[in-house]
Amino acid sequence: MDDYLVSVLSNIGVISFVALSAYLLLLTGEISFGQQAFFAIGAYAAGMATAMWGWPLALGIAWGAAVGAACAVSLGIPTLRLRGLQFSIATLAFAEMVRILFELFRYQVDIDGEPVGPNGTDGFRSIRYIFDHNIETFDFMMLIYTMLAVTLAGFMLLERSRLGVIFRMIGEDATLASLQGIAVARYKVLAAGIAGALAAVGGGLYAHLTTYVEPRTFDVMLGVHSLAYGLIGGLGTALGPLLGVVIDVGLLESVRLFAGYRMIIFGGLVALLLIFRPRGLLDERLVNRIGRLFRNAISGSTRTGRGSR
């Protein structure tokens, strides 16, 4: 496989995690401009674990996810009681705080005669796990996609479960949900925690993919993009944000259809798409309609099956 294709596909895979993370919060009706903070936390935590402490990759990423989830929960508890817009701005403030803290964060150890570790605005270089362990970029891409597939399967399960229904209820009308006996605050914190862990997994993978991270990688634009993916792709299913990522990173950026004008197209696309499909391309109605087609096909075939008996 072409190196370039591998790198683009790896990017799509990694960004998908942040997009899914923002999507999960969108389901519960919260617009977070701060998911990039957990992406950053995951990247630094996982990078430190493998590059500085010599942990294995899986453990490093799991550790990153745990730290991300813990931070997300502790952010969620004071902020999730805020009303929509205020929550968005609070997450924005938090994410900027995290980014600036990483700009101030210096902690290096000596490995093989070279200082390794986060170094303020210079970032965190030589997270060389995949080179030290001779993992091919293609194999790493497969790892990313395996984890993405697991995550997607989790989302599919979530959509069919009571928890998914509860998230959607809270997203549509939190007051009404609480009048169905749902402890809204608890579920929102749960969603924030899962979303934080997801973004952190993406960050851990990203750090090992590029071998370096620096604080400005995690500025507001990353969070804004990840929100936009869900809105372009649609809020009806977890495939929506993935579609958004593919449209943006895959089509607009990599195919170079519009060369350097990609961001203009992207911005315009977001603005215009929302006029015609406010809940994205794959919205609930479309998903419901497709689901009905499937059901009809299945029930149709069983009916004919019965008839022939």
Binding site: Y4, A58, N134, Y206, T210, R216, D219, V249
Partner: protein, 141 residues
């Protein structure tokens, strides 16, 4: 509780099957100098590769050079270009076509006798290219 146990088992299984670090591997370092190639946003870069520990030049490698903007992760992923080896030992030359001025992470992938990736942070401006100095804040007010 059951979920936690399952997760621990999964993590343990994943860690067990992991490759061990191949120590004593050659690590590369690179010195990159770029000059404008006449056209706007086109730059000629010379890369001098050396063994990070012994400092002796690394020649005979397949070198491909890509670039990414750290401020927009995964967004401006410039297609990697093959660098051509020069007469000077350990020196490679490449022409980069970027999309905008600003800070780029030049990503040098080595294949062959040494497999490694070296990142070099450069600020590409209209007139010249400079190393990104440590802790250079990009904002005033």
């Amino acid at each position: 509780m059951r979920t936690i146990v399952c997760m621990l088992v999964a993590v343990a299984a994943l860690t067990a099957g992991y490759p061990q670090a191949a120590h004593g591997q050659v690590r590369a370092k690179a010195a990159v100098t770029c000059v404008s190639a006449g056209q706007v946003l086109e730059y000629d870069c010379t890369i001098r590769l050396a063994n990070a520990r012994s400092g002796e030049p690394l020649s005979g490698l397949t070198v491909s050079v890509g670039a990414d903007m750290p401020s927009m992760p995964g967004m401006h992923n410039v297609r990697a270009v093959k660098a051509t080896e020069q007469a000077e030992k350990g020196a490679y030359k490449v022409r980069l076509e970027l999309e905008m001025h600003g800070d780029w992470a030049v990503q040098i992938d080595l294949r062959g006798a040494v497999r490694d990736r070296v990142i070099s942070m450069l600020r590409f401006e209209e007139a010249d290219v400079t190393d990104v100095k440590p802790s250079s804040g990009r904002r005033g007010h």
